[in-house]
Symmetry: C2
Subunit: 422 residues, 2 copies
C-alpha cells in the first residue's frame, strides 16, 4: 500500500467536499487503487473557525510555508480560487517537486506556461481537471483519449450560472434581472455575479480547453468575450419561433494555422445536443478529424462533482509519480482570427413606413451580407420590429453594416445582435 501525504490549500465548499470524499470513499480508494491518502495539513484563513467536519488537531494551519517547505508532503491540492496568492503557492510547490492538483481556472488560464515549466523542471505533476466543467472528465479525455485527432472545433456550455438563468428565462418567459435576482436568492448566482454573467469565468475555462485542444497557448486576451446581460425575454421568444435556443457558448475553432476563440450568447438549433442542456448542467461538444462529434455532459460545479475531478487527479498524480504526462504545445505559429464567419440574428426597431425594409436590405447587401430570413413584428404602431437571420458573413462586415444602419433616420434602434452556430 502506497502512503500519500496530501495537503489541502483551502477548506471552503470544495475543500470540504474533497475531505468528505477522501473520508467516505477512502476505503474503496485504498482497496481498488492501492493508495492510502492522508490529509496531513490544511491551509485556512482562520484556524479557530468552527468547521462542519471533524479535523484532527494540528492539521489546520494559516502558514502556507509550513506546507510548501515540508519535504514530507507529497502532493498539494488547491481550491482557494483567485490569482493571488494561489499562483505563488502552486509555483513554489511545483518547484520543490510536489505535484499539484487544482480547481483554479484563473491561475491555470493566466499562468499555465510558468506552472508547466516549473513542473517540467522538477518532474512534479500538474493536474487541473477540476478547473473546467466540474466532474466532467473533459481535460483528461482531450489529453489522453483524443491524441490521434486534430481537434477542429469545440463548443461548450461551461458556466452553470448563466445556463441556469437562460433556462429559466426560456421556460418561464421571464426577464434577465428577475431571474438573476431569483438565482442569487437560490444560490445559483454569486452576490456579485459579474464574472459569470459577463462571460469572464467561461473565458478562463475556454483558454484552458482551447490550449490543450489545439496545442497552442490561447490566452484570455485572445478570446472575444460578451456576456448575457443584454439578452431579453423577446430574444428568447423569437429564437424559439425560429427554431433556436439561446445559450452562452464558449467556442473555439482551428482551421490550418488559424484559430478563433470566443464566448458569447449564441443561437443554436433546437435539434443540436447542446440546446437540450438545461439548468446548471455543463456540456462540451467537440469535433475531431477522426472521432467526429463527441459530447460530454454533467454537473459543472458544486462541492461533490468538483471533488470527483479533484480526487481523480489526486489518484492519478500518485500513480503517475515519476512519469507525469505533459501536454506538449506545437511550435507552429498560429494566427488568432477576430474576423470570424458566422450567421447573425439581428433585432431592430424601425419606422413603420414604406421603403424601410428595402433600405435595410440594401445596407446589408452593400456590406456583402445576405439575408436568410426576415420576420416583421408589432406592425401598426409607429415602430415595427424587424428580425433578421443572415447567411454566413464576416463579423466585421456585419458590425460595419450595423453601424451604418444606426445612422439611418429610418432605424430607431438596433436592439440586439446574436451569433448563430450549428
Amino acid at each position: 500500500m502506497k502512503k500519500i501525504r496530501l495537503a489541502l490549500l483551502g477548506l471552503g465548499t470544495i475543500g470540504s467536499g474533497v475531505l468528505k470524499v477522501l473520508t467516505e470513499n477512502g476505503g474503496m480508494i485504498r482497496k481498488r487503487e492501492g493508495l492510502d491518502i492522508e490529509v496531513v495539513r490544511i491551509l485556512v484563513r482562520d484556524t479557530s473557525k468552527k468547521r462542519s467536519l471533524p479535523v484532527a488537531p494540528g492539521v489546520l494551519t494559516c502558514d502556507a510555508d509550513s506546507i510548501l517547505n515540508d519535504p514530507d508532503i507529497d502532493l498539494v491540492a488547491e481550491f482557494m480560487g483567485g490569482e493571488a496568492p494561489a499562483f505563488e503557492y502552486l509555483q513554489k510547490a511545483l518547484r520543490s517537486g510536489k505535484s499539484v492538483v487544482t480547481a483554479n481556472k484563473e491561475v491555470i488560464a493566466k499562468h499555465w506556461d510558468e506552472l508547466e515549466e516549473a513542473a517540467k523542471q522538477s518532474g512534479a505533476g500538474l493536474y487541473f481537471e477540476a478547473s473546467v466543467a466540474g466532474g466532467i472528465p473533459i481535460i483528461k479525455s482531450i489529453r489522453r483519449s483524443l491524441q490521434g485527432n486534430h481537434i477542429q472545433k469545440l463548443m461548450g456550455i461551461i458556466n452553470g450560472t448563466t445556463n441556469y438563468i437562460l433556462t429559466r428565462m426560456s421556460e418561464e418567459g421571464k426577464g434577465f434581472q428577475e431571474v438573476l435576482a431569483d438565482a442569487k436568492r437560490l444560490g445559483y448566482a454569486e452576490p456579485d455575479p459579474t464574472a459569470d454573467v459577463e462571460g469572464y469565468d467561461a473565458r478562463f475555462k475556454l483558454s484552458i480547453l482551447s490550449t490543450i485542444s489545439f496545442r497552442n497557448r490561447i490566452r484570455t486576451e485572445d478570446i472575444y468575450c460578451e456576456g448575457i446581460t443584454g439578452i431579453t425575454a423577446d430574444d428568447i421568444e423569437y429564437a424559439k419561433q425560429l427554431g433556436y435556443a439561446i445559450k452562452l457558448l464558449a467556442i473555439a475553432k482551428k482551421q490550418g494555422n488559424v484559430i478563433e476563440a470566443r464566448v458569447h450568447p449564441t443561437f443554436i438549433p433546437l435539434s443540436h445536443p447542446l440546446a437540450a442542456v438545461r439548468d446548471a448542467y455543463n456540456a462540451i461538444y467537440i469535433e475531431g478529424d477522426i472521432v467526429g462529434n463527441l459530447m460530454f455532459y454533467g454537473k459543472g460545479a458544486g462541492d461533490y462533482p468538483t471533488a470527483s475531478a479533484l480526487v481523480s487527479d489526486i489518484i492519478t498524480a500518485c500513480q503517475n509519480e515519476g512519469s507525469h504526462h505533459r501536454t506538449k504545445l506545437d511550435d507552429d505559429a498560429v494566427m488568432i482570427n477576430k474576423d470570424w464567419r458566422d450567421e447573425y440574428y439581428v433585432r431592430m426597431s424601425v419606422k413603420d413606413q414604406p421603403g424601410v425594409l428595402a433600405e435595410i436590405a440594401g445596407i446589408f447587401g452593400q456590406h456583402g451580407v445576405s439575408i436568410e430570413s426576415m420576420i416583421q413584428k408589432n406592425r401598426g404602431v409607429d415602430n415595427a420590429t424587424l428580425i433578421f437571420i443572415t447567411h454566413e458573413a464576416n463579423e466585421k462586415a456585419i458590425m460595419r453594416a450595423i453601424e451604418e444602419m444606426k445612422g439611418s433616420p429610418s432605424v430607431s434602434s438596433v436592439d440586439n445582435i446574436i451569433r448563430v452556430e450549428r
Copy 2:
C-alpha cells in the same frame, strides 16, 4: 523519439481506418507524443487480395505465428472480431509480453479474466476502449476519471443499428421490418442483423461496462437480454403520446452488494438526455455517488471513430510501458438480481364489454401492481386496446399478473410489455 513496432490483426474496415489514421496523423503523433509508430506486420486472410491502401511488400501475412512469435514486435492491435481465433492470438501475445489493443467486445466480454491474468503475469498492457461505443472515451473515463466514485447506475444506447432503426420508426411512423430492410440497404444493418436487433451486441458491451464500473465480473449470462423485434409503430406512437421515447437501453445498477444488468427496449421520458440521442449515435449515462450524472455522447461505430479509440489506446500502451494500469476487481461477493423493480408499459387487446377494466385492474392489484395511468384506444369495434403504465413493481410480479390475464376470456391478447426507466 521512441520507436514502436506494431502489428495489426485484421485489415477490414476498422484495420484500414487505423492504418489511415497512423499514416495521416502520424506526423502529429510523432511531434506531440514523441512516438514513432511503425506498422510492421498485418495479419490478413489473403495476402493477394487487392487493397485500397498501399501496404509495403512483406508487411501482409497469413501466418499469425510470424507475428506472435516475433520478439521485435512490441504491440498487437486486433480488430478481426469474433471469439476464435482472436482470443487465442490475444492470449498468446499477452503471454509473450506484447501489449494488446483490441476492439473485440466478444473476446473481452467472454475472456476478460484470462486476458487480464495473462497481462498481469507478463506485465503487458491490455486496452479495449474501442470495444464499447466506438470513439467515446467511456472506458478510460470510468477507469481513470471516476476512481473516487462508487458507480451506482449506468444506462447506455450502445448499439447504433437499433438506435438508427428506432429513430426512423419514431420519426417516420414506419414498422420495424420496413425500416430494417432499408437499414440493410443503406449499410446501417448487417445482412444478418441478429446480433444487433436481438441485443446480443449490446449485452457484450454491457458486460464490459458493468464489470469495470462495479469492479465485479458481470458475465453475459448475468444479463437479461431482449431485442427490439417486437416493437411496433403503435408502441412508439403511444409512447410519444405518454411523453416517452423507446430506446434499446443497456442498464446496470448496483445497490449495496446487489447488481442488476439488462438489455431491453425501454420507455424513457422525452426530457431525459438519452431520449434525444438520434440515428446511429451512442450515449452512456452514468451515475456516481460523488459526481452525480454524466453523459458521454458520440459515434459508436464506423472506421474512423473506432480508429480514434484504437490509436489512443496504442499511444497509451506505448507510454505506459512497464507501468500498465489494471482494473482491480473487488473481492466482495455480489448477488445478481433478476427480480428488479421497474415501471411497466403494458399494451393489450380486450373484449369491449363492461367489467373488463375492473377485472384487469383487479389482477394487477392481486399481484401487488398499482396502475399509474391507463388509456383506452380503438373503442367501438369488438376489441378495445388498453394501455397501462404501472407504478414501480417487481419484474416477477408483473410477469405473473400478465400470465393470469392471458388466461382470462376477456383478454384477447397481451401485445407488448416494455420497461420504463427515468
